[in-house]
């Protein structure tokens, strides 16, 4: 391989990665494991070395190694691997990269189509996830909202404000969650019992049962994570909410991005 070709290879962008490899997997409906690692700048030569050394360690895995120079991310595509095997391979990769002092951040692991239906979206989300991780060598399993069996994580929103309903329903559904809404405490309890949601997002001031009573009921009858989303800012309300087992306390006006990030974190923590 000429020097030129090698440098080129070390600079392939994500678009190319998708066009070259993932599109093929998507079309042929084959599965592949994906590992993204934040690395120091790799020359094409280095990348070759990495590839060889790793193949020695795990001979039965056929993989592509691509390096994106702009984002400084090393992408590994593992042929025909499920998430569990990919995860295992990521451990090997991590040790190797740490030894060589090449790792500058975290590692994100996923598998297509197990983790997500769309390969492009998966890649984009993984890159996002990678940029959020701070610790060197931290391995994150990309949390697909699709569970095995294909049903999305369920969220119950309890709030008497119709605009909040409407907004959260649309926003969270677009993010791939299954959303139920209730406008008062009693309806909230009823829906909670019917749907057994993973996360309950509740306001504290509700007609019927108030938020505290709702939380008590939920704690008695299930194991949903509770996020309080309220306009109340009094310290007593915050402390009381946490005492009743709220996992998070967000005040209105709120950022939907932050809310969704917190929901995601809760759901993934719950699964592990």
């Amino acid at each position: 391989m000429s020097y030129l070709a090698r440098t080129e290879m070390a600079k392939e962008g994500f678009k190319d990665i998708y066009k070259k490899y993932l599109a093929y997997y998507e079309a042929s409906e084959l599965s592949c494991g994906i590992i993204l690692a934040k690395c120091k700048i790799l020359s094409g030569q280095m990348l070759e070395t990495v590839k060889k050394e790793l193949e020695k360690k795990n001979p039965h895995i056929a993989a592509q190694y691509i390096y994106d120079g702009n984002k400084q991310i090393c992408v590994m595509l593992l042929d025909d691997q499920m998430l569990s095997d990919t995860h295992f391979h990521a451990l090997v990769v991590k040790d190797y990269l740490l030894e060589r002092n090449l790792l500058t951040g975290g590692i994100v692991v996923a598998s297509f189509p197990e983790s997500a239906a769309s390969a492009v979206q998966l890649l984009i989300d993984m890159v996002k996830e990678l940029t959020m991780s701070r610790e060197i060598g931290e391995i994150k399993i990309y949390h697909h909202l699709q569970r095995k069996g294909g049903d999305a994580a369920k969220i119950l929103v309890v709030d008497q404000d119709e605009t909040v309903h409407e907004f959260l329903r649309i926003y969270l559904q677009r993010k791939g969650y299954h959303v139920e809404v209730a406008s008062d405490g009693l309806a909230g309890v009823r829906l909670f019992q019917e749907t057994a949601p993973d996360v309950v997002i509740t306001e504290l001031t509700l007609p019927g049962l108030n938020g505290y009573q709702l939380m008590e009921t939920i704690n008695h009858h299930g194991s949903s994570q509770i996020i309080v989303l309220t306009h109340k800012r009094l310290e007593e309300d915050v402390s009381k909410s946490f005492a009743l087992g709220a996992a998070d306390y967000i005040t209105k006006p709120f950022s939907p991005i932050e809310l969704e990030a917190r929901v995601k974190r809760l759901i993934s923590a719950n699964k592990l």
Binding site: Q160, S183, D184, T205, L206, P207, G208, N210, Q213, T230, H231, K232, R233, L234, E235, T251, K252, P253
Partner: protein, 477 residues
């Protein structure tokens, strides 16, 4: 004799012109103020305020007498207000029905032995206080019957916060009503002694779980007339009066007061109706006599939905009661304060207006009309004068009504449909074909009752807010 009658008739015509012109002036004051109010509301961030530490805590007092049908829904809606720190104190005024029991059952309240009540105001015997830690901000006082004023005083004795809000048990507050009123208070907490809320007619609205879900105009004639009447009184009248600090009444259905001054003026006066006007007069008097800077404010965007009587019998008893209350207040305070410069706007404008155009209104109108009719019967040469009298009444009245509607459309638009505007305009005109006249008669009858020492509260029957849903249930079920 004819000349006397004619002279008196012409006098009555001028009377009508004057009253309406004064009202027109107040309406103009309302117009100047409404834009300010609207701007304030637009630039206020109520959602953030509603959770803030810096909002003063409020005690909501809910006197309840025979309210078993509506009380649960109302208390539930009060417990779900957008407000950081407040308490709801329901005062069961010796109800003859199951009001207390219904509350106890619904909220699992227990009789509490050690609740302290400061007896700063004298009230009828308090039998007990009920509370449930699961609802930390709900208290129920059970006492012997003593009337509405007495119940409010008992509530003041128990209340823990510096502001009190008096609310009728048959009214529903919008969930941001309290925070809006509190904002008006916070603009000038030192001088604001009382703030009135805007009362609207809830008949016809779809109400679920104590929340107004769908604002509709009433479909019956009487509530519809009252709806237009309230719009005129509150938007056209009270905004203007508050702009010149001459507001004489904060509706008993929804108002907020500074507790310290209410106690200083001796609390609410029992024994007579009109305790809501009475407390405001006393506050004006106290502040002016002590030369303290003060204001009685009105907050038109803090809305309270109330049930209007929908039969002539109940409406008549309500209006007669208002007449008695007004007369009593004018005899007790108005007489001594009217036209005295020390009472400033209140003594020089509000009280004369009230005495001449509210209290004495029936006498002028009835006698004026009789004189004109008598004159017309005796001598047909000047019969157009009767026509002038009638037309003036109607045209000027309609003008003022339309002005109030305009205010509503500019600032609030609670009734969004175009057909609603047409309907309101229609009823603004219809008001003058019988409704206004019968109102004058009711007030007169109220005065007669007063002088015959009949000072009962009168009847007020309730229908459950949810009657429509009840009906639907029975139909579908």
């Amino acid at each position: 004799m004819r000349d006397v009658l004619l002279f008196y008739g012409i006098f009555a015509v001028y009377y009508v012109i004057t009253i309406n012109s004064l009202y027109f002036f107040i309406l103009l004051c309302s117009f100047t103020r409404i834009f300010q109010i609207r701007a304030h509301a637009n630039y206020s961030r109520f959602p953030s305020l509603a959770g803030s530490e810096h909002v003063p805590p409020i005690s909501i007092l809910v006197p309840a007498y025979n309210e078993e049908l509506t009380i649960i829904e109302n208390v539930r809606s009060l417990l779900a207000l957008h407000y950081p720190r407040y308490e709801v104190i329901v005062i069961n005024d010796g109800s003859k029905d199951q009001t207390l029991q219904v509350l106890i059952d619904e909220f699992q309240l227990v009789y509490s032995q050690h609740m302290t009540m400061h007896r700063v105001l004298n009230t009828a015997n308090v039998r007990g206080i009920y509370h449930n830690p699961a609802y930390p901000n709900l208290y129920v006082i059970d006492k012997d019957n003593g009337g509405k004023a007495d119940s409010l005083n008992a509530g003041i004795n128990l209340s823990h916060y510096p502001l009190i809000a008096s609310i009728d048990a048959d009214s529903l507050l919008e969930k941001d009503a309290l925070i809006r009123i509190a904002k008006v208070y916070m603009e000038n907490p030192e001088e604001t002694v009382a703030i009135g809320g805007n009362v609207r007619i809830g008949n016809g609205c779809r109400i679920e779980d104590g929340v107004v879900r769908d604002v509709r105009l009433p479909d019956k004639v009487l509530p519809m007339l009252q709806c237009v009447e309230y719009l005129k009184a509150f938007l056209g009248g009270r905004i203007g009066w508050s702009a010149i600090n001459g507001l004489i009444i904060v509706s008993g259905a929804f108002g907020v007061f500074r507790k310290d001054y209410v106690i200083k003026v001796g609390g609410y006066r029992g024994g007579y109706p009109g305790e809501d006007m009475n407390i405001i007069i006393k506050l004006h008097k106290y502040m002016l006599e002590n030369k303290l800077p003060y204001r009685v404010a009105f907050c038109p965007d803090a809305v309270c939905w109330t049930q209007a009587p929908d039969t002539l019998k109940i409406l008549g008893s309500q209006r007669r009661r208002w007449g008695r209350g007004n007369l009593k207040n004018m005899l007790e305070f108005g007489r001594h304060m009217v036209l005295r410069p020390r009472y400033k706007v209140f003594g020089l404008l509000t009280l004369p207006y009230n005495i001449i155009f509210e209290t004495l209104n029936p006498y002028f109108r009835i006698t004026g009309l009789l004189a004109l009719i008598g004159y017309t019967v005796m001598d047909m040469t000047n019969s157009q004068i009767l026509l002038i009298y009638g037309l003036l009444n109607i045209l000027y009245g309609v003008l003022l009504g339309v002005g109030s509607l305009l205010l509503e459309e500019i600032a609030f638009r609670r009734y969004p449909r175009i057909s609603d505007i047409g309907k309101m305009l229609l009823y603004t005109v219809l008001m003058f074909l019988g409704y206004r006249q019968i109102g004058v008669v009711w007030r007169f009858l109220g005065h007669i009752e007063f002088f015959r020492n009949n000072n009962t509260w009168g009847t007020m029957t309730r229908t459950s807010w949810n009657w429509k849903t009840e009906v639907k249930k029975t139909l579908s079920g």
